[in-house]
Amino acid sequence: MSSITLNRVTKRFDQFTALENLSLDILEGEFVALLGPSGCGKTTTMNMIAGLDEPSEGGIYFDGESLSGIPLQDRNIGFVFQNYAIFTHLSVYKNLAYGLEVRRLPKSEIERRVRAMADRMDLGKDLDRPATSLSVNELQKLAIGRSAVVEPRVFLLDEPLSSLDAGFRAYMRAELKVLQQEFGQTMIYVTHDQIEAMSLADKIAVIDKGRLMQYGSPLAVYDDPANRFVANFVGSPRINLVDGELRDEAGRRSLVLNGGGMIPLSGGVDADFARGAAVHGGSIGIRPQDIYFGDRRADDDIRLTGTVESLERVGPRRLAYIRMQEARFLAVDDRDELSVREEVAFHLVANKCMAFNLKTGERLRANS
């Protein structure tokens, strides 16, 4: 397998820019997820790596050598489609063997490698059955096996789990992770599901409207989002984001929310906003689990009051929607102590609050 480098790759379809100077360094054997909403350019990126499309500018390199001009079939890329693209007129064996047959390998070697792969994906008993008789889950494994058997330099997966049912999807996530470690393949995984990206990838590249928002490990992207988009897109349940005007009355800074209500700033978040002096439109992001009820735990935590709008209590998800004028906070209430329409006081953990410049979406940090 090989490492992949994208150097300022740009793609324009007449006047629409699908991708704008994207640079990524993917190490050999690394599992990278391209994460973003539909239409953000992640699939375009994958198509260019596979050779289905040529970049308008910039270059793509496997182990340092440029791919431009190398036709699709000579790039030796494993590609798993969202709908698996299994050869419906062929048997399971013929599907697995296709990549080897076109390379005109000796029959015995094809037989050996196909059987080994079939056993690895526990499709050993179905080899002679027509591919269409397989279940969705088996089709998924056949698609991966078919690409893996030719030992490609790079593996590209286009939202492979999206058509599976929830139960099997969780199982398949674990299976894919183990497969990747076992093969030691360099893998790029395109998805719009951030849970899948966080659970599978060594590194996540968050993309929006064709631009790279952030590239880092799952927990780095979760704990330390580079901008407002990443904070909003990654993490389930969703982060709370409240926007407003920054006001500084005699050294006491606060965020006056657009729809009314005011959040006094203190602790870490106050320091973050202080650094960005010129900023007046601000936005605060706080994860539901960083909001708590009852009495204050740390002196610089921010105390607010609001009314409980609705509750969601299913299994581990114990959530409460709190309304404060126009702003709405989603908070974790794992002690089930709240009831709807109850006036309640709650605290935001100050140094877990994230400060953003509302206009540019940039993250404001005191230290950086």
């Binding site: 289905l52 036709p71 699709l72």
Partner: protein, 286 residues
């Protein structure tokens, strides 16, 4: 997306251009002949593709029955057969499309007409010649011989199976949920068909009408058998031209051929997308 090597591309273009040349060869000959004056009809004076001095004489001749240079005149001009072709094709098309649309909707949506009657409709490859005898007997009995409605009726019936199968494929593509949404909103079955399904399949309806029109316009055999004089269609008129006049009126017949060929080619290009579906009677959609 894969860009073939320049050599392969050049070979591809060469072969395609050669095929286009073969297509154009007879067409070009007829089209140019239509504009050649009488002396240039035969190649006594040397073979030329393009007319030395192009003239509209031939068209003038067939529309008015006589022209300056022509030595002989026509007793019947093109106007009668042209009207006959138009009237019978349009009426035949209307009958086939209306009956075909209504019945295919009933079959697709309400599952009426399964079993034998549906099989009768299977006679899509209905060889008209095989059932000509009873048709002629009945047409004579009804006094429908050599009448516009007689020919229109047979055109409608011969193309009905085709219209049924083509419209069936279009109705099958309308998602059932859209009709359910209308019914739930308070529509009766008739209003659902009239206000929702029909407007959605309108393009299909147009395609079917054009297809059936082309088939009726291009017919030769049925018109030959069921009309004598006053409702003779264009193709029949064309073949009578030679025998009646003795000499081979090449230029005149080419002009006539050109006029007869234009409508189907134009309509054919309009419905190009649905040709496959139509020509394989719905067995193949592309």
């Amino acid at each position: 997306m894969v860009r073939p090597s320049p050599g392969a591309l050049a070979l591809k273009y060469a072969l395609i251009l050669f095929a286009c040349a073969i297509v154009a060869y007879p067409l070009l000959w007829m089209v140019t002949m239509a504009f050649k004056p009488y002396p240039e009809w035969t190649t006594g004076t040397g073979m030329t593709w393009f007319p030395k001095n192009p003239t509209l004489q031939n068209f003038e001749f067939i529309f008015f029955g006589h022209a300056k240079g022509a030595v002989v005149s026509l007793d019947r001009t093109i106007v009668g057969p042209l009207i006959a072709s138009i009237v019978t094709s349009v009426c035949g098309t209307a009958l086939a499309v209306v009956a075909g649309t209504l019945s295919s909707y009933a079959v697709v949506r309400y599952g009426i007409l399964s079993g034998l009657p549906l099989q009768v409709l299977q006679l899509r490859l209905f060889p008209p010649l095989a059932v000509m005898i009873p048709i002629m007997v009945m047409w004579a009995f009804l006094g429908a011989g050599d009448t516009w409605w007689g020919l229109s009726l047979i055109y409608g019936i011969v193309t009905l199976p085709f219209a049924f199968w083509l419209m069936k494929t279009f109705f099958e593509e309308v998602p059932i949920e859209i009709e359910d949404a209308a019914r739930v909103s308070g529509c009766s079955h008739w209003r659902v068909f009239y206000r929702i399904t029909l407007p959605i399949v309108a393009p299909g309806l147009a395609t079917c009408a054009l297809f059936v029109f082309i088939m009726n316009w291009s017919d030769y055999l049925l018109a030959l058998m069921l009309t004598q004089k006053n409702w003779m269609t264009l193709p029949v008129y064309m073949s009578t031209l030679t025998s009646a006049m003795g000499g081979q009126m090449y230029g005149v017949k080419s002009a006539l051929g050109l006029i007869a060929a234009i409508p189907p080619v134009v309509f054919g290009l309009l419905i190009q997308k649905h040709l496959v579906r139509g020509l394989t009677f719905g067995a193949l959609k592309q």
